[in-house]
């Protein structure tokens, strides 16, 4: 008891006893306990790429893209059992795209792995975390580029071309950097020849 101060209402979720709409919303949606935190999503949303490509990559991580395997699960009659894991990582075409991408920045050795780990391991040690967000944007646009080419082949015919997939991704990431990254003044051909130097411009 204390005569000088008035009785005060306290919000028990908050250490200082102050109410906030945020904490009330968290109680209502029961998010106060961190349960299904998946680091891959955090990594994904920090990546620098256009929303269209990010959403495609998000659906890949959730495995909610309309791959044949997913269509079959939903009762759509298609003939092959193509999964996301196969399409984006394990398939020979995808393997060539990824090794081409690593070769582009001067690294060798890519191993096939689970798609989330593939994203999380997609970083370059000499880069800062901001620069790696740009680099992971390349991962995201490669996913998008693979998906676009896959749709092209499925609906219009033809054969998948790893070189074309990579080039398209390089173009997408160059366009994004050109319009979004301050100080990025390089031409497309310079981006193709010196990606490492270009990324260093991002601070």
């Amino acid at each position: 008891m204390c005569q000088e101060i008035q009785d005060r209402l306290v919000w028990r979720e908050d250490p200082k006893g102050a109410f906030s709409v945020k904490s009330a919303y968290q109680i209502l949606t029961k998010r106060i306990t961190i349960g299904s935190l998946d680091s891959a999503y955090g990594v994904l949303w920090q990546a620098k790429a256009m929303p269209k490509a990010l959403i495609t990559a998000w659906r890949v991580l959730l495995d909610r893209l309309s791959t044949n395997a997913n269509l079959i699960r939903r009762g759509v009659p298609v003939d092959s059992q193509e999964t996301s894991q196969h399409l984006f990582i394990d398939c020979a075409v995808a393997q060539r795209v990824w090794s081409g991408c690593y070769h582009w920045v001067g690294i060798v050795g890519v191993q096939s792995m689970e798609i989330r780990n593939h994203l999380e391991n997609f970083y370059l040690i000499h880069l800062s975390s901001k620069q790696n967000q740009v680099w992971r944007g390349v991962w995201v646009v490669i996913i998008r580029s693979i998906w676009e080419q896959r749709n092209q082949v499925v609906f219009k015919g033809g054969v998948p071309d790893p070189k074309e997939i990579l080039q398209n991704a390089q173009l997408l990431s160059w366009l994004w950097l050109k319009y979004k990254a301050i100080g990025f003044v390089y031409t497309f051909s310079y981006w193709i020849l010196n990606p490492n130097k270009c990324i260093l411009v991002v601070l």
């Binding site: 009785d7 709409v21 919303y25 299904s36 659906r59 939903r74």
Partner: protein
């Protein structure tokens, strides 16, 4: 059309695989709760006086009954509970810090533990003559020190007075 990601998942935070879209129903409740919080916690002000003169009391209960109140007021009561009740997510998360004891009801409000004394010691509550009284009314100040003086319907049995301590 095939729905690929459920609304429930879309509404999860981004780090958990959702898109961080607000669940509007819950968010609305949280916003309403802020009104309730301000009504209960703030000392005064014209806005509060006006509301109390319209609706009767800050706790939500009124002399005419909720049925005839505005939708907003009824929603407040629905989302955050009325009167001294302890049930519901909002009521469970508020407590009191006693100062001069002029507002906190000794038995009915949550202030000592994580629930009210009334619900913790219902037997003692039924014997108490201090039901509905404020903490500051159950005792006196003697030379700057607080002396707690509860009143009972009858002398307590030995085991009952042990519980009091």
């Amino acid at each position: 059309m095939i729905v690929w990601v459920s609304l429930e998942n879309v509404c999860k935070p981004c780090e958990e695989g959702g898109l961080g879209v607000k669940e509007t129903r819950n968010f609305n409740s949280a916003l309403l709760a802020k009104w309730k919080w301000r009504l209960l916690s703030e000392a005064g002000g014209k806005w509060k006086e006006i509301l109390i003169s319209i609706y009767g009391s800050e706790t939500g209960r009124s002399h005419v009954g909720l049925k005839y109140q505005s939708w907003w007021w009824r929603d407040l009561a629905k989302v955050c509970g009325e009167g001294d009740q302890e049930e519901g997510w909002f009521r469970k998360d508020i407590g009191w810090k006693v100062g001069d004891g002029s507002r906190v009801k000794l038995w009915e409000y949550v202030w000592l533990q994580s629930s009210s004394l009334k619900s913790m010691f219902s037997r003692l509550y039924s014997l108490s003559l201090d039901q509905g009284k404020r903490v500051g009314e159950v005792g006196t100040w003697e030379e700057g020190r607080w002396r707690f003086q509860p009143n009972w319907r009858r002398e307590r049995f030995e085991w009952e007075s042990k519980m009091e301590k």
